[in-house]
C-alpha cells in the first residue's frame, strides 16, 4: 500500500502528465500515416528522454505506442490503408462505412472501442500482471503451434462467399511467407539469388500495396472517377449504436488482453480473432465486411487491448511481446532500470507511478482522439481525384521510410497489382494476409516441435493448453464450414430467385 501511495506521489507532476499527452499526440500523428510505425516513433523519441526523469521517459514512449496503435485505424477507415498491421481488420468494415459516407461513425466507434479496450488492458496489467505472465510462460513450441493453428482458422470467417477460395488465398499467403531464409537451417527459399528477399517479403510494403494501391488503380479505371463535392464524413455515432457494440467491445478486449500477454503473437492476430468471434456470435454475420459498426468495434478493441497487455510480459518477466515493446526496452535501459521480476521488488514505487500514468493514457487517448477525429474525418471530404494521387505519394514515401529501401517500393507496387488482380477475380485478400502474418510463426513452431520431439508426436498433446487450442481449432473449422455452407445455400436461393439479373 505504501508503494502505491509513493508511486502516486512520484507520478503527480506536470512533466509526467505532459509526457503522456505529448507521447499520445506523436503516436496519433505517426499512427495515422501509413509507413510510419510506433517503433520508429519510439526510436526517434528515445534520445529526447535522456534529460527526463525515468517515469516521464517511459510514459512518453508508452503514449507513442498506444497513440500509434489507435491511430492506425484512421487511415484504415479513411483511405483503406492500415496505419499499423494491427489495423488490417478495421478496414474490413471501416472502409465500407467510409464509402457509404459514414466515416465519422466508423472513426467514433474506433475511438471509443479503443479507449474501453485500452482501459481494460491497463487494468489487467495492473491487477494481474504476475498471474498472466506466469500463464504465458507455459507456452512452448507445441502450445504456440496450436495457438497459431487456431488463429489460422480465422480465415474461415473472412473467406467471403466461397470457403475454398478463401483457403486458396490463405495457402498463397502461407507460400509467400516462406520466401527468404529458412528459419531453422538458413537455407534460401524462393529468393532466386536476390539478396533483398533473404529476410522474406517485407510486410508493410505488402500491406500497403495490397490494400491502398488497388483502390488507386481501380479509381482510374472508372468513368465516374470525377469530382465529388459536399461532406461525406456523415453523422456521428449515436448512443444506441455504441450500446449495441458494448458486448463485442468487452469480449474483444478480453481476447486482446489474453493474446497480448503471450509474447510474439501480437495485435494483428488479436484483432482478427476478435473480429472472427464478433462475426460468429452475431445474429447477422452477413453484414460483416459490408460496413458493420460492430466489426470496427471488435477489430479496434482487439488490437488496442494488446497494447497494455504486451507490457505484462515486458514488466513482469522482461520479455518484449512485440517489436515495439522491444524498442521500448531502450527507454528502461537508458535510465538504468532492469526490467523483470526484480523491477517490482526494487523499484515498486516507480512501477506504480508508471501504472498511474498508463491509466491516464486512456483518458488522454479519448480527449486527443476526439479532437483529432474532427480533423481527420475531413479527409473523406477531399475530392477523390486529389486524394488518390496524394495517397500514392504517401504510399511511396511511407514504404521507403521503413528501411530506406527502393526495392520495397517495387514490392509495394507488385503487391498493389496482385491486390488489384485478386479484387478482379474475387479472391479475398484478408485470408492471404492473415496467413502471411501467421505463417512464419506457424512453420517455425511446427518444425521446432518436430525437432525437439525426435519423432514423438504425442508432444503436440502434452499439455492442457495444447488440448484446449486443439479443441478450439476443431470447433472453429467445423463452425466455419457450416456457416460457409449456410451462406452458400442462401446465395444459391438468391440467384435462383433472380436468374440472370443485372444491375
Amino acid at each position: 500500500m505504501q508503494e502505491i501511495l509513493n508511486g502516486f506521489d512520484l507520478f503527480l507532476s506536470m512533466q509526467n502528465v505532459l509526457a503522456i499527452v505529448v507521447g499520445m499526440f506523436i503516436g496519433i500523428v505517426i499512427g495515422a500515416i501509413p509507413g510510419l510505425s510506433s517503433s520508429m516513433g519510439i526510436a526517434l523519441a528515445l534520445p529526447f528522454t535522456y534529460g527526463m526523469n525515468p517515469v516521464s521517459a517511459i510514459l512518453l514512449v508508452v503514449g507513442i505506442y498506444k497513440g500509434g496503435m489507435f491511430a492506425g485505424s484512421i487511415s484504415a477507415i479513411l483511405i483503406r490503408t492500415p496505419g499499423t498491421p494491427g489495423n488490417i481488420c478495421t478496414l474490413l468494415d471501416g472502409w465500407p462505412l467510409s464509402q457509404k459516407g459514414q466515416s465519422r461513425k466508423a472513426l467514433d466507434i474506433a475511438l471509443y472501442s479503443s479507449v474501453v479496450a485500452d482501459l481494460a488492458s491497463n487494468l489487467a496489467l495492473i491487477l494481474f500482471a504476475a498471474t498472466i505472465a506466469s500463464f504465458a510462460l507455459q507456452f512452448g513450441p507445441a502450445e504456440y503451434f496450436w495457438l497459431m493453428t487456431f488463429s489460422l482458422t480465422i480465415v474461415t470467417s473472412v473467406a467471403g462467399d466461397s470457403l475454398f477460395k478463401g483457403l486458396v488465398s490463405a495457402v498463397l499467403g502461407l507460400l509467400l511467407a516462406t520466401v527468404g531464409l529458412d528459419l531453422i537451417y538458413g537455407n534460401p527459399r524462393f529468393t532466386f539469388g536476390m539478396l533483398e528477399f533473404s529476410g522474406g517479403v517485407s510486410f508493410v510494403p505488402l500491406l500497403i500495396g495490397l490494400f491502398a494501391i488497388p483502390e488507386v488503380i481501380d479509381f482510374y479505371l472508372r468513368k465516374q472517377a470525377g469530382l465529388i463535392h459536399g461532406s461525406r464524413s456523415g453523422p456521428a455515432l449515436t448512443w444506441p449504436e455504441f450500446r449495441k457494440c458494448v458486448p463485442t467491445i468487452f469480449r474483444s478486449s478480453a481476447i486482446g488482453v489474453a493474446i497480448g500477454a503471450i509474447p510474439g503473437v501480437g495485435a494483428t492476430a488479436a484483432s482478427f480473432l476478435s473480429y472472427s468471434m464478433a462475426k460468429r456470435s452475431s445474429k447477422h454475420p452477413e453484414t460483416y465486411g459490408k460496413g458493420e459498426i460492430d466489426g470496427v468495434a471488435a477489430a479496434e478493441a482487439g488490437n488496442n487491448a494488446v497494447a497494455g497487455a504486451t507490457l505484462i510480459p515486458l514488466l513482469a518477466l522482461g520479455i518484449p511481446g512485440d517489436v515495439v515493446t522491444a524498442v521500448m526496452i531502450g527507454a528502461f535501459l537508458i535510465h538504468g532500470l532492469s526490467i523483470g521480476p526484480s523491477l517490482f521488488q526494487t523499484q515498486g514505487d516507480l512501477v506504480y507511478a508508471i501504472f498511474f500514468g498508463i491509466m491516464l493514457s486512456s483518458i488522454a487517448m479519448l480527449i486527443l482522439g476526439m479532437l483529432s477525429m474532427r480533423l481527420f474525418a475531413r479527409i473523406s471530404d477531399i475530392p477523390r481525384h486529389i486524394l488518390m494521387p496524394g495517397l500514392l505519394i504517401f504510399c511511396v514515401f511511407g514504404t521507403y521510410a521503413i528501411q530506406n529501401s527502393h526495392f520495397d517500393i517495387l514490392v509495394m507496387f507488385a503487391a498493389g497489382f496482385l491486390g488489384f488482380f485478386m479484387m478482379k477475380i474475387d479472391l479475398p485478400v484478408p485470408p492471404f494476409l492473415i496467413a502471411f502474418v501467421l505463417g512464419p510463426s506457424f512453420e517455425d513452431n511446427l518444425r521446432r516441435t518436430i525437432l525437439v520431439s525426435h519423432g514423438d508426436y504425442s508432444v503436440f498433446f502434452n499439455s492442457y493448453i495444447c488440448w484446449f487450442f486443439a479443441a478450439l481449432t476443431v470447433l472453429s473449422v467445423g463452425y466455419g464450414v457450416l456457416s460457409s455452407r449456410r451462406s452458400r445455400s442462401s446465395a444459391e436461393a438468391t440467384v435462383e430467385g433472380n436468374p440472370g439479373h443485372s444491375a
Binding site: 483457403l167 495457402v171 507460400l175 531453422i184 537451417y185 527459399r189 512453420e443
Partner: protein
C-alpha cells in the same frame, strides 16, 4: 456495375479455379525443386526446408480442385464481371490500365535520379490531369502543395532520409 448471368459466372469461376490448380501443380513440378536449392540435398524429409512449402502447396492444390468442383456444382454469389468498369470499353480500360502502370513505373524509376519531391510532383500532376482536373489554379496549388507538405512531413518532421536527387534540400 454489370453482373454476369449464372452460366457465365460459373464458367468464369471454373476457369479461375483451374488456373490456381495449374499454378499449384507448376509449383510442385518446377517452383519447389528450382526455388529451394536445398531440395536436391535434403529432399522432403520432415524437417527439411522444402517439406513445409511442399505440404502447403499440396493443400493449395486440394483446395483449388475443391474450388473447381464448387464452381461446377453450384452457383456462387453474384460477383462483378471483372471487365470494363463503369462504362469504359475493354480497349479503353486496357489503355487506362497501361497508363497507370506507366505512371507507377516512371515514379519508381525517377525517384532516385530526380528525388522524392520532383518525382512525386510529376506523378501527382499527371494523375490529377488523368483524373479529370483541368482548373489551372487547383492544379498548380495541389501539384506544389501536396508533394511539398508530404515531403516535409516525412523528410523533416519524421527525419526519413528520402531520396533528394540533385536538389540541395
Amino acid at each position: 456495375m454489370v453482373v454476369m448471368d449464372a452460366a457465365s459466372q460459373k464458367r468464369r469461376q471454373t476457369i479461375i479455379a483451374l488456373g490456381f490448380s495449374v499454378f499449384f501443380l507448376a509449383m510442385l513440378a518446377f517452383g519447389i525443386p528450382h526455388g529451394i536449392p536445398s531440395y536436391a540435398k535434403q529432399g522432403l524429409s520432415l524437417t527439411s526446408s522444402a517439406f513445409y512449402p511442399y505440404v502447403v502447396t499440396v493443400a493449395g492444390l486440394v483446395f483449388s480442385v475443391l474450388t473447381v468442383i464448387e464452381a461446377r456444382a453450384g452457383s456462387a454469389a453474384p460477383t462483378s464481371d471483372g471487365e470494363s468498369a463503369e462504362g469504359f470499353s475493354v480497349p479503353a480500360t486496357l489503355a487506362r490500365f497501361s497508363m497507370v502502370v506507366i505512371v507507377f513505373a516512371a515514379f519508381y524509376l525517377l525517384l532516385i535520379p530526380l528525388g522524392a519531391l520532383l518525382s512525386s510532383a510529376l506523378a501527382f500532376g499527371f494523375l490529377m490531369i488523368f483524373g479529370g482536373e483541368r482548373r489551372p489554379l487547383v492544379l498548380a496549388a495541389t501539384i506544389i502543395g501536396v508533394p511539398v507538405i508530404t515531403y516535409i512531413l516525412f523528410a523533416k518532421l519524421a527525419a526519413v532520409p528520402l531520396p533528394r536527387g540533385d536538389l540541395p534540400f
